[in-house]
Symmetry: C2
Subunit: 304 residues, 2 copies
């Protein structure tokens, strides 16, 4: 099965304690696609301006990513400028230029109508809702959001969540959305809003997946050098949903495996700036890190 | 094998968003002993004042804890007053009255000389060092410390670490001790200071164990209600070292199991105020939670 992502394609200017990169390829749909394509066919719905470098379009095509849904609009591409201090868990936004993204109204091409795996990346919940209305009910809808929408478009977000199977958010967003500091209670509340599962990303501390009767915890992968945390969450989503679409198996066991693949993609992504690490990532490396996750979490059962 | 703990016995006054308790049983040696005794025989070296309630001495004795090394000195018992806000990971100290603890010079009774499992709880590293000099080299020395000693008694702490097998500390302490923000690098540095292993406690995010060639991660146990985080670290130490002493097996596999028992004891301890939960804890509950840790971390291997 293939996956469809609706999100942003951007030019990012990012500064970390180690380096600065200017106007490099970024955006939620970008990270998702360059992560998920390691597992399955990816189609992208997004918008860029007429100034968007052609080489990046060739990038996507070269990876076999279907960009028929990537609109090129007169004007400037969405730009984000931010920095990280030594605590790389926390992004600080300096400037957001929406540009052509301001009037983005995602149109799902007819050929994607029957898509089974959909990722609603972090965009205005009103747009996420419009996407849900354009597609026949997919097999699985994964949805991301952020504090800004939780505060400014709560009503629309709650409406969107009714059509979402899995909500992906970080710990502070989970707390803000539910008003619960305790993540156990916060997860319970999310499950009452519509989604059957909720995945809580905790940066270096890993990720949790909760459903009504199950709880799964993956630790963070121990990295000696983290160079650029930008896009970690979308890389996670790409590995998670890419693997699920590829295997087309929504059992709890397979979802847990998908959590590992998501964690692997996020851990690789932060090793280099922008999308560089995802681009040169080899299947062999994914397998190696899966084994490493298995090793670092293994302990014997009571009966052994 | 039995374990020996050298640490504090205190009267704690603790306030959380949920409740306040006054002058209740506390201290690092107390939590450790009431946790470890679920696994093996525990002996305690500490000091209390002549005001120390007799009922607490009976408490220890009733649990079979050997308190021949618990000195009763003229004067007042060590008191700690602190509070927690909604972020229960962070203790705020309001007052520390050392009282008889100010002149505490641990004397290891001759009958403990050949102890094989030793816990140096969080006390002045100079005292920790004096304990190491009084005992024949034990099979395993586990050592705790805190920011205060890292700042004020760095030299003495570094000397102590040369005689320590496993250092137990939380993430901010690991960062402060080593000057490394990244926990991977921080752990490497600790291993160069003497210990063969380092355990980093991360509160609700679980714990990590590092050695030269191995890394093990346990997630935090998801608790719906955390009532009092006081003593979580010492309860962890009690489960960890108590299990190791009981099994007398220092293989990596067995240490990983010990990490789970440590996590179990910490997770139970925070469910109620003071030592109440540890006191009424049943073996059956320990086993149940071990199984739950296994379930919540399980994912299939690549080949399955």
């Amino acid at each position: 099965m293939s996956v469809l992502v609706v999100g942003s394609v951007a030019l990012d200017t990012v500064k970390t304690p180690f380096r600065e990169v200017k106007e490099t390829l970024g955006g939620s749909a970008t990270y998702f696609a360059l992560s998920a394509h390691h597992y399955t066919q990816v189609s992208m719905v997004a918008v860029v301006g007429s100034d968007f470098p052609r080489k990046y379009l060739d990038h996507f095509k070269g990876k076999g990513i279907d960009i028929r849904g990537l609109e090129i609009k007169k004007g400037k591409t969405f730009r984000w400028k931010g920095y990280y201090e030594y605590d790389l868990n926390q992004a600080h936004t300096q400037r957001t230029e929406l540009n052509v993204f301001r009037t983005f109204r995602p149109k799902i091409p007819e050929e994607y109508n029957k898509i089974e795996y959909l990722f609603l990346a972090n965009i205005d919940p009103q747009l996420q809702l419009s996407v849900l209305r354009q597609v026949r009910k997919p097999k699985l809808v994964l949805c991301d959001t952020m504090n800004y929408w939780i505060e400014k478009k709560r009503k629309e977000l709650l409406l969107t969540l009714k059509g979402v199977d899995i909500l992906l958010l970080n710990d502070s967003e989970a707390r803000e959305l539910t008003g619960e500091h305790n993540l156990f209670k916060a997860s319970r509340r999310v499950l009452k809003m519509g989604p059957e599962k909720v995945i809580i990303k905790k940066g270096e501390h890993g990720a949790l997946m909760w459903s009504k009767n199950s709880h799964f915890a993956v630790p963070g992968y121990p990295l000696e050098d983290i160079n650029d945390p930008t896009g970690a969450g979308d890389s996670f989503a790409g590995g998670f949903l890419g693997f699920l679409a590829y295997t087309n198996d929504l059992s709890e066991e397979n979802m847990r495996k998908a959590m590992i693949y998501g964690s692997i993609m996020a851990s690789y992504n932060v090793e280099d700036f922008s999308v560089k690490r995802l681009e040169r990532l080899k299947d062999k490396e994914i397998i190696e890190r899966y084994r490493e996750f298995k090793r670092m979490t293994h302990f014997e059962d009571l009966s052994e």
